[in-house]
């Protein structure tokens, strides 16, 4: 179903409901949009952005009533609406009985291209960061936990800080790999 986009007036009212300070309200709106998209994505929605937009549109449709009657944190209301949108999505979606094994379906050339791009991105990392993330993924089970504690000690940071640092390096790498793959596809 195609929804009518909200009017500017209704949108302004939403921002005012989120926060009296316009800048703060804008930030809160963006945060809600991004995080709702993420939540829908965790639930297996293939187009999480459009479901997040639909949730926000539904809240905007009720904005006059909400301003008059709703008591409590607006976030809670967004979550309730998002859950309804999600339930409707589940009803609409045809669920396959079995999910294909994606690894068998992907051509080797694409895997190789990603691997080559990652190889290039790894080479661009600072040597200490490269060795840290490789070292972080050493070992399995109990040995892995001991190994990571040791690695954190050697690096002079706590284990949670090491975990975050590894995550940030990986985020940087994933972005670099994707850019490289996209450049290859454009050629």
């Amino acid at each position: 179903m195609t929804r009518k986009p909200p009017s500017q007036e209704a949108f302004d009212k939403l921002l005012g409901w989120l926060d009296p300070d316009r800048e703060q309200a804008g930030r809160k709106y963006q945060k809600i949009q991004i995080r709702l998209t993420d939540i829908f994505s965790c639930h297996g929605c293939t187009e999480p952005e459009s479901l997040a937009d639909e949730t926000i549109d539904r809240v905007i449709e009720k904005i006059d009533w909400l301003i008059e009657n709703y008591v409590g944190d607006p976030i809670r209301y967004f979550c309730g609406v998002a859950r309804n949108v999600l339930r409707e999505y589940w009803k609409r979606r045809r669920v396959p009985d079995e999910f294909p094994d994606e690894q068998k379906n992907e051509p080797d050339e694409e895997n190789d291209r990603r691997f080559d791009c990652l190889d290039k991105c790894m080479a661009e990392l600072l040597p200490r960061n490269r060795s840290m993330i490789l070292d972080y993924y050493e070992d399995q089970g109990k040995a892995k936990i001991v190994h990571r504690k040791q690695l954190a000690e050697n690096t002079g940071i706590s284990l949670p800080a090491l975990r975050l640092r590894v995550f940030h390096i990986r985020t940087q790498l994933a972005k670099c790999m994707q850019e490289c793959v996209n450049q290859g596809s454009e050629r």
Binding site: K31, I32, R35, L36, D38, I39, S41, C42, H43, G44, C45, T46, E47, P48, D73, I75, R76, F78, C79, G80, A82, R83, V95, F99, E102, Q103, E109, N111, D112, R114, F115, D116, C117, L118, D119, K120, M122, A123, R130, S131, L134, D135, Y137, E138, Q140, N154, R163, L164, F167, R170, T171, L173, A174, M177, Q178
Partner: protein, 253 residues
Amino acid sequence: MALGEHDNNITRQYLLGQLNEADELALEERLLTEDELYQELQVTKDELAQEYAGGNLTSKERQWLQAHLFASQAGKQSREFAQAFDRYAKTHREPVRERVGFWQRWDALWSRHVTFVRAAAAVAVMLIAYFGFKTLSPSPRPQTTATLTLVNTVSTRSTDAGSVPTVKLKDDVLKLTLQLPQPSSVGTLYRFDLMGEGNLIRTLTTSTQDGESISADFSAKELPRGQYVATLSTIDANGTAQRIPGGYHFKIE
């Protein structure tokens, strides 16, 4: 507010579909307001993708992630990254660890117990010299070498088990010669990675002597029975390696 162990576990359970609807809703409300918890969700997503790529999840967990976390475009890309990283880590981690681990341990030992280490090193050198001389002095049996020349699978498209070259290794050394897919100038540097049954056997940097192939010797002790694949990467003037697509497969019996 700092996150506790409970929050670490709950984001994992959320992503694996192990929470009931009320708990899911409660967590989602927190995700919209608590920045730290939202970041924890991102870290857990990344870790789960890596566990998936490394084959460390149950089949039920794998299926759940395929149908949920990896269903969107962003999710698919995170899975693809994790799979490429897993492959990279399996190819590169062991030599790095050995190198770093050994020198770190040696540094620490040397700085803590200088006198003891020096004395022990002196004794070790004398013992090695003595036994080395005793062992080597009788005329040694000449070393025998088997040779195997392989062609890149990209040019042959022959990776099925039936067409993989097989060697019954009875010699001391196997000389592997890899034909380059395209000729290059003599002296061009290459990184040579040999993998066997998912483990990295050895990585070495070498150059082409004839512009058409790369050769390296491997001790028979390094090559137990099994399937092997060698890969080549060119190394440019900045030391950056660029992998040559395809591989060189062979089998030792």
